[in-house]
């Protein structure tokens, strides 16, 4: 009787313990990655390739996402603002909402979908086809050759992606503002620029760096710990994306609390 009552609790406990264990492993993995930063060699070529893959090639995805969201945001704020005759706040709120929250979060989630998955699948496949073992036998440390360049590239590229996404998102709001909401072009721009502070933008870029770190670390961690065979790689990829997305949203809340709570 007591057994049947407590067994769900026991199951829950086991789940939580399992999760804590993984959190610990990921933390150690991230720490290990960072220690390789100060231990040569550093593979510049790999780093350059990853900058292109993670940063440059993510631009269209991030740009399109923020463009449409900026437009939708302008419409919503206009409709909401109209209820208390505050339509004129559209430019400033679009800008602040974009650079502080939506820019970094949307860029983070899109990069998680695009990059965490591809990193996990690539490294997972390398693992199951013994390429990681082969790297080791060729005197090349997998953490240095595979993980560090990816994590570093993502961490450095994301703030720039966020900045570009911010600009495109604000542009989306601007287009909607002047074409559908009868804003004056010059006034809209002036409003945007006047209200934005440097910290609004830079806090979003710092968030971006954190999200980039999360995305690449999750991709590498789940790839390196991939199970055997195609199924193992598939499951590693899925878990990497889910874990990266959730961690991004949680970290976003924490950073917002840290940066902006009174």
């Amino acid at each position: 009787m007591i057994n049947t009552l407590t067994s769900p609790l026991a199951a829950l406990g086991r789940q939580i313990l399992g999760m804590l264990a993984i959190v610990g492993k990921i933390a150690m993995f991230a720490f290990d990655t960072l220690t390789h930063l100060i231990r040569p060699p550093f593979y510049w070529r790999e780093f350059g390739i990853q900058l292109i893959h993670i940063g440059w090639l993510s631009l269209p995805v991030v740009g399109l996402t923020t463009l449409f969201t900026g437009g939708a945001l302008a419409l919503q704020i206009y409709a909401g603002g109209a209820r208390f005759n505050a339509e004129s706040v559209v430019p400033s709120i679009v800008a602040i909402g974009m650079v502080r929250e939506l820019g970094p979060v949307l860029a983070g989630l899109m990069v998680a979908a695009r990059v965490a998955s591809s990193i996990a699948a690539e490294i997972g496949t390398m693992k199951v086809t013994e390429q990681i073992d082969a790297l080791v036998t060729l005197s090349t440390h997998p953490m240095k050759y595979l993980t560090l360049p990816r994590v570093l590239a993502a961490t450095l590229a994301m703030p720039i992606l966020v900045a570009v996404g911010d600009a495109i998102g604000i542009m989306g709001g601007y287009f909607v503002g002047i074409s559908r909401l009868d804003f004056n072009s010059a006034a809209y721009l002036k409003n945007t620029v006047d209200f934005l502070e440097l910290w609004d933008v830079s806090s979003g870029m710092i968030k971006g760096a954190a999200f980039g770190f999360i995305v690449a670390t999750m991709g590498c961690f789940y790839g390196m710990n991939s199970g055997r065979g195609a199924q193992g790689v598939g499951s590693a990829t899925k878990t990497a994306v889910v874990a990266a997305s959730i961690l991004i949203l949680a970290t976003n809340y924490l950073l917002t609390e840290l940066f902006f709570s009174a």
Partner: protein, 248 residues
């Protein structure tokens, strides 16, 4: 040079190695035979430290492999993996020259490429192959690229995991000769896994047979035919009847 003492390794309930004892002398070519799934690949990977044995001792030059300085230790080895394990993001020549393009053996790209092409030639591949990607090659060609990569930096200890499977008889002959050459001319120590009895006779100084997690028989290749060991006899003659069960 390489000594395994009472090495055990299990994956969950699957006891793979159950007390392997084996010694390979410097400059010797040891061939390991044994049924599929008996743990030959696991044994090789254990020596390289890619798999950690549950118990037992593995020494290279009298030094425990756990205590050796990892980079210097691995720099002495070359390994051909059973599945090739080529890096599919790199063209063939960069796979072969991987070690020559970074780390302590780093040299100019043009020189690394030349060496790669020379090694490719030694495994019977044309220079045109150098710029292809591994996914564009046949299975046997991938195997040979893996072989070229293993020997590219002229290591003193070389492990070959099934170097001739998937090759036609002529190419298999070329590879057997190459391995023999590497041992005799370069004085390398080699450990080869193979199922191909022609290969065994062409490559081996000594043969060891792995079965049921232990080395059932080991000795010079010349003694293989009249060993009187029922396991070895069944294996080398490929008989379905005998002490080794067909379903494992």
């Amino acid at each position: 040079m390489i000594t395994l003492t009472d090495v055990h390794k299990a994956f969950g309930s699957n006891k793979v190695l159950q007390g392997v004892n084996l010694h390979i002398a410097r400059g010797e070519s040891m061939v390991i035979i044994g049924g599929s799934g008996t743990g030959k690949s696991v044994a090789l990977k254990s020596v390289l430290g890619l798999i950690k044995p549950d118990s037992g001792k593995i020494e290279v030059d009298g030094q425990d492999i756990d205590r050796a300085e990892r980079d210097a230790f691995l720099a002495r080895f070359g390994m051909l993996f059973q599945g090739g394990a080529l890096f599919d993001s790199l063209p063939v020549w960069q796979n072969v020259a991987f070690r020559l393009m970074r780390g302590s053996l780093k040299r100019p790209n043009s020189e690394a490429r030349e060496i790669a092409i020379e090694k490719l030639r030694r495994v019977g591949l044309k220079p045109e192959v150098a710029d292809l990607f591994p996914s564009e090659l046949s299975g046997g060609m991938q195997k040979r690229v893996g072989l070229a990569r293993a020997i590219a930096a002229e290591p003193e200890i070389i492990f070959f995991d099934e170097p001739t499977t998937g090759l036609d008889p002529i190419m298999a002959g070329v590879i057997n000769e190459l391995i023999r050459e590497i041992v005799v001319e370069m004085g390398a120590t080699a450990m080869t896994i193979t199922h191909d009895m022609t290969s065994v006779r062409a490559i081996a100084d000594k043969v060891a047979m792995l079965h049921d997690g232990v080395i059932k028989w080991t000795g010079p290749v010349a003694d293989m035919d009249d060993s009187g060991d029922p396991y070895l006899d069944q294996f080398i003659h490929g008989r379905a009847e005998g002490p080794i069960e067909a379903v494992r």
